[in-house]
Amino acid sequence: MDSTFQNLVLGFSTVLTPTNISYSLIGCLIGTMVGVLPGVGPLAGISMLLPTTFGLDPTSAIILLAGIYYGAMYGGSTTSILMRIPGEAASVMTCIDGYAMAQKGRAGAALAISAIGSYIAGTLSVVGLMFLAPPLARLALGFGPAEYTSLLLCGLVVLSYMTGGSIIKNMAMIVLGLLLGTIGIDQMSGYFRFSYGLVALGDGIGVVPVAVGLFGISEILATAGHPDTRQVIKPTLRDLLPTGEELRDSAMPILRGTVLGFLIGIIPGSAHIISTFVSYAMERRLSKHPERFGKGAIEGVAGPESANNAASEGALVPMLALGVPTGPIPAVLLAALMVHGITPGPLFIKEQPAIFWGLIASMYVGNVVLLLLNLPLVGIFVNFLRIPYRILYPTILLFCVVGVYAVNSSLVDVGIMTAMGLLGYLLRKFDFETAPTVLGVVLAPIIEFSFRQALAMSDGSYAIFLQRPISVTFLGVGLLMMLFGLKPLIWRKGKDWRDRLTQAEKSN
């Protein structure tokens, strides 16, 4: 405990120099900007600035890049709330309730809670990172393909709680997303699936074009030219700030989202977006009024946004503690360190305390900076809603095209976005939810791949799923939850929460 405190002091002394503070500030600014642009996510932002960091000293370099990383998580919620366009793939869940709140005039509150939740999640995660990094990282390594498959199967059961409405329709959407996710090279055998000669589809359809298309483009398709265009909302100061009730309602979702996001983020290979989906589903399940979700429930914003930020910091745990990247973004951060001759590994914390603790301290500082940056910006951003939609939507189209193109310099992505936009539009018309499809696209490669990897490891024996402790735990949890869900069908006592939900929706 003592040494941790000393190390923290060391870290802060490294960070609180004018140079490093300004790098943190610049990183956070760029990250926010990058997050606000639809489609362009932290990966693109970090890769853009990677070369500039070659000339800096390692601590400053990593502070700058890390600032972009979580800055983007903060910024990603802005367009989601204001215009229902995911600023980056992980902000998809915020689009649902955040945008609904904006339409009710509570955009400022949504933005503010999102910033506050992100701050709390970020800071608490850094604490977790500080104390728990090495043991957690080792636990994370124990996650092999079998554990992964069981985890995700259990997750799918949880996610059936995600959206209201017809279960059949939701399942159809997940299956559709899963099918779309199979497009591309099959990593186990090398076959191209459903790619019709387009090499660019080799790596699959990609979450970003799907998310931006299904949410952003479909939104402008549905709204532009609609006879009852949105009233231009003129927000007052009171609208900018969350009410006491909203703050109280968000407290537990923020905390739950933080823990959930952090744990999911640690697992190598998991995507941050999964943490937002699970958080949303959990909040919905735990809420006393689940029918409010989808229509502007603040929990639906607070939970996912916190989970998002916590996941991005959790993802750094294995990288810093063991030198093991959990995904593409930590891999780039790892590379940035390697370029300076520093290779994070098991000895990193011992051999380079200044950099490790400097990074930790910079994360504290960065979170504060971002909170201070984002709260006043709420007032500015909300004014975007004043712009008449007739001028706004072509601009939105332009930014969506640029954002999606910039990710991989690929026009195929823009084409996918267009197709997904059309699909999203039709789905809305025919009363389907689009969020499960995005989840399916993300999950399909992971679930299938882990499943087949696990079978390859056991040479075909299905027993592997029951032989490993972590895997058994998850399967057990999933089974229990499924049984609970089926309970009303067997007992027929009292109304299930779903029936209450449908009743509530019908009476609205």
Partner: protein, 146 residues
């Protein structure tokens, strides 16, 4: 003819399409699933769900009652997006975006001329500078270098 019946049928058709397309992929066995295994599983699920929708779909909203007031605008936006997909790299970012904005703002929305001109010129040039020069993310320059 309700919307659920229509969407259900669409899902069934999609499922059948995938089953057909998948025939080139080996199925493998239960112990060693091949590339075709999962797509087949998923498409069968899709067909089942679609069929369920068709059966239960009687109580949903009628197809005829669906209103499409925003359709002309939606088509325009889709056309612009498709135009960008096809021509952005050949004509260059700035010109294509200029055309798209000009079309949407000038023709579809019929805004005032000075506003249209400012936005049509300002936005493509401004965003190009932002991305290409400032952020060093190359945007397509078109066959003749602009």
């Amino acid at each position: 003819m309700t919307i659920d019946r229509v969407s259900g049928s669409a899902l069934v058709l999609l499922g059948l399409f995938v089953v057909w397309e998948r025939r080139v992929l080996p199925l493998g066995t239960h112990t060693r699933p091949g590339p075709g295994y999962f797509p087949l599983l998923l498409s069968m699920l899709l067909i089942v769900l679609g069929a369920l929708l068709i059966f239960q779909g009687g109580s949903a909203q009628a197809l005829r009652s669906l209103a499409w007031p925003e359709a002309p605008h939606a088509l325009a936006i889709l056309a612009c997006s498709a135009f960008a997909t096809l021509f952005l790299e050949q004509i260059g970012y700035r010109i294509s975006m200029g055309i798209i904005l000009g079309f949407l703002l000038g023709v579809m929305e019929r805004l005032r001329l000075w506003l249209v001109l400012t936005l049509t010129l300002g936005l493509p040039l401004g965003t190009f500078w932002l991305f290409d020069s400032l952020l060093r993310v190359p945007l397509p320059r078109g066959a003749w270098g602009f």
